[in-house]
């Protein structure tokens, strides 16, 4: 193994009593794409944060190859800066960019080109940034404020920033969770290029097909413990799942639910304009139905959900709930009308990060409780149900949500809306960052809810997910409906075709 450039041995880490990592080891080689996999909270992000100097480890050793002598030397990574200087760079799971600065400033933060000893050379800065942006095929002005970018574009900036470090080891922590297919493709070609330059790429993802597409080796963690490292060629999806969650996942092909009650329209959107210049959109959601909503980034799915939920005003058209015209002006009105919304942006809109898990789960529920006084037992029974249903991995309910792993935070958002027991639940990218095991649990819950008489709109960019749970698929393109397919007739081809604006079957 002459090519080993990073070796981690016996790494342990606890957070306030929770064992996040226990005696874990990992070996990374030059010129490989190495996947880290495992359930939410398995410790993937934590291990990489220890490697790059974000967290300090409690026990264990980290060795890096000395490029001159070729030997593996032990290092104590004291800061992120030191990690960067040692050629280790990480694209974090949670965006770590500055909204108040420009794109270029974000990319070269801490390394701005200067004239003389101090003077910022803005032209050079923008030129360099433009170069990096070209690599990720992001066509934005480097001098524009980051706050004007969509989440996907921000993710691309983050990737561009990572590339600009010219590191030996580049870690991507769930980079595609906010990217669409075309951007993902760009990323993969970048990764392949990096690999051919002899760099090592660590790729953390819950998306099986991605992992098998680009990774050479896969290391699996479970519950903070090292499980195994496999060559991608020598394993398959089912095998991996077994390694990750310790059991098989049964999966039958989705035939749609026979319970959907087509006689009862729960939600009807009539001639609503998503963008000022787009064609008006109409849709019907039936009782006990899961409507999958597919589209490419910018198709306007999130916008539509915002309109229904009362965030953005409705300029044209009407919305009916159970046949009655409604005028929803705020999320409060929406909730009172029985609508719930799991937002796309969990950090900004889904959670109060500094508040406890319990309080986050209850925050929308509270207004439905009869008494203004909080009754401990009542609340506990509500939260208890969902923490176990969704198997949220946590220390206890009073922990701050920000201490949870990314996937578990997402579960809290879902739990919060389930707790509110909406008649109509809109879920915008609900399984973003959630592991395969939990995903299937969430699908089960969604189906169960539909069975109980609720209706769900699931916005998703994951083809597989759309196919797996929807009873009906609706495809949006540039703010208008370009396809509506029953699940029985929906396949990857006709969905994709509609998403690109192809022939609509309205």
């Amino acid at each position: 193994m002459a090519d080993v450039i990073v070796k981690m041995e016996g790494i342990s880490k606890t957070f306030g009593g929770i064992k996040a990592l226990n005696n874990v080891h990992l070996e990374l080689q030059a010129g490989e794409v190495h996947a880290l996999m495992g359930e939410n909270g398995a410790g993937k992000s934590t291990l990489m944060k220890i490697l790059t100097g974000v967290y300090s480890k409690e026990a264990g050793h980290v060795y890096l190859r000395n490029e001159e002598t070729g030997s593996l030397d032990e290092v104590e990574m004291k800061s992120v800066l030191m990690g960067l200087q040692n050629g280790l760079c990480m694209v974090f799971q949670e965006l770590n960019l500055l909204d108040n600065m420009t794109v270029a400033e974000n990319i070269y933060l801490g390394r701005e080109p200067i004239d003389g000893p101090y003077m910022l050379n803005r032209k050079e800065l923008n030129d360099r940034a433009r170069e990096q942006l070209k690599k990720v095929k992001l066509n934005v002005d480097p001098n524009m404020p980051l706050s004007g970018l969509s989440p996907a574009e921000k993710q691309c900036v983050e990737i561009a920033k990572a590339l600009s470090f010219d590191s030996r080891v580049i870690i991507f922590d769930e980079p595609t969770s906010s990217l669409s297919a075309s951007e993902t493709k760009t990323l993969f070609s970048i990764i392949n290029e990096l690999k051919s330059q002899g760099r090592c790429i660590v790729y953390i993802s819950h998306r099986m097909e991605e992992v098998f597409e680009i990774c050479d080796r896969i290391t699996v963690f479970r519950n903070g413990e090292y499980v195994d490292t496999k060559k991608a060629k020598e394993t398959n999806e089912a095998g991996l799942i077994k390694l990750m969650i310790g059991r098989d996942l049964e999966g039958e092909p989705n035939q749609g639910s026979e319970f959907v009650n087509r006689n009862n329209v729960v939600l009807e959107v009539k001639n609503v304009k998503i963008f000022p210049d787009s064609k008006p959109v109409s849709l019907k959601l039936y009782e006990k139905e899961i409507l999958g909503m597919f589209g490419l980034v910018g198709a306007g799915r999130t916008e539509l959900s915002r309109i229904i939920f009362g965030i953005d005003g409705i300029s044209e058209g009407e919305i009916y709930i159970k046949g009655k015209k409604v005028d929803i002006k705020s999320p409060k009105d929406a909730i009172d009308a029985g609508i719930g919304l799991v937002p796309e942006d969990r950090k900004g809109l889904g959670l109060v990060l500094g508040m406890s898990i319990k309080d986050n789960m209850l925050i929308s529920k509270l207004r439905q409780l009869k008494s203004a006084f909080l009754k401990k037992e009542e609340l506990k029974s509500i939260t208890g149900t969902y923490t176990s249903d969704l198997s949220i991995k946590m220390g206890n309910e009073n922990q701050e949500v920000k201490e949870l792993s990314g996937g578990n935070q997402q579960k809290v958002v879902i739990a919060k809306w389930l707790a509110m027991e909406p008649d109509i639940l809109i879920m915008d990218e609900p399984t973003r960052g959630i592991d395969v095991g939990a995903k299937s649990e969430i699908y089960d819950i969604m189906k169960k809810l539909a069975g109980q008489g609720k209706s769900i709109i699931m916005i998703s960019s994951e083809m597989e997910e759309i196919q797996k749970v929807s009873d009906r698929v609706m495809v949006l393109h540039a703010g208008s409906v370009t396809g509506e397919l029953d699940i029985k007739e929906a396949n990857k081809n006709n969905i994709m075709q509609a998403a690109f604006g192809g022939v609509g079957n309205e």
Binding site: G16, G17, P331, L351, V352, I363, L374
Partner: protein
């Protein structure tokens, strides 16, 4: 696990209490008059009005805002009550007037801040300046003196051995603790302070929460104003200068974060008591007034430092 967390939380609050206890022991050793019922009641009475307004200030800071107008409102609400009692000899009318003025000023602050979308800092800075101006305009710079002895009892009376202001403080603290921990609305305060966008998306009317909290603050401040005025024995257009800083200091020393979303009413009360005890002890021992300031500044830093280290160590 659960038990561990509880312990940590308790220890955290305990640290300030421990500092307070240590301080009390020091003063008891240094001066025989410190640990007397009389003196303790003294400390509590001095702490009472700051504590009352600080309960409101805690909520204000939890929602991520600030109230700089508290000192001026203390003055104007007290003055109005004094003027009415002087004119009509009707105590109830005076008290109601003070509370209504407090609520209205709170409403103004809240509306400018929540609906006008100005930072609370600016909104309340403006009302601070305006109210102080009004105080001088309505009094012409004179003190307002009344003759009704009952009115003075609000600030100076006793129920048994306990001063009336201390009783009022206890009621307000209980109210504050219940509101922030036992009531639905309390959760909204923390949510709004933690992430106002997420709160709005969760169905909370962020504007309403902010306005209500400012109104509560206004009413509590005017209660403090009534106590201060009746305690001083006359309405003064200069009363309450710097009072808002005393409250903010107590809140922050008590562990509430200026960033919003976090804090506890009980912590604030410990903060108020800490500062009141410190001042009382230093005066009893006969430390020079300006040395008191130096020591006070130093002790605040040290106390908060110990407290925050204790927190992060866990």
């Amino acid at each position: 696990m659960n038990r561990e967390k509880v312990k940590i939380g308790a220890l955290r609050e305990l640290l300030l209490v421990i500092i307070l206890i240590v301080m009390c022991i020091v003063w008891t050793i240094m001066n025989k008059n410190f640990a007397t019922v009389n003196n303790v009641m003294n400390i509590l009475r001095v702490a009472s009005y700051t504590a009352i307004a600080s309960v409101g200030m805690t909520m204000i800071i939890i929602i991520g805002e600030i109230d700089l107008s508290a000192g001026s409102l203390v003055c104007v609400s007290g003055l109005s009550a004094a003027l009415i009692v002087k004119g009509t000899n009707n105590i109830v009318l005076g008290i109601i007037a003070a509370l209504v003025i407090g609520a209205l000023v709170g409403l103004f602050n809240g509306v400018v801040c929540a609906i006008g979308k100005l930072p609370g800092f600016i909104a309340t800075l403006a009302s601070m300046t305006i109210l102080r101006g009004i105080a001088y305009i309505i009094t012409g710079g004179n003190s307002v003196v009344w003759t009704n002895q009952m009115f003075s009892k609000i600030g100076t009376g006793y129920v048994g051995p306990i001063p009336v202001p201390v009783l009022i403080m206890i009621v307000v603290v209980i109210f504050g603790v219940i509101l922030t921990t036992k009531i639905r609305f309390g959760r909204y305060i923390y949510a709004v302070g933690g992430n106002s966008n997420a709160s709005r998306w969760s169905g909370i009317s962020v504007e309403k929460v902010k306005i209500i909290v400012y109104v509560i603050m206004g009413v509590l401040t005017s209660i403090a104003g009534l106590i201060i005025t009746t305690r001083l024995g006359s309405g003064q257009p200069s009363a309450g200068t710097g009072f808002e800083m005393d409250c903010i200091t107590a809140v922050v020393v008590g562990g509430t974060s200026m960033a919003g979303g976090k804090g506890k009413v009980m912590g604030t009360i410990v903060g108020v008591l800490l500062i009141a005890t410190l001042t009382n002890g230093m005066t009893l021992v006969g430390i020079d007034t300006y040395w008191q300031q130096v020591i006070k500044g130093a002790i605040i830093v040290v106390a908060v430092l110990i407290d925050s280290k204790g927190k992060s160590a866990n």
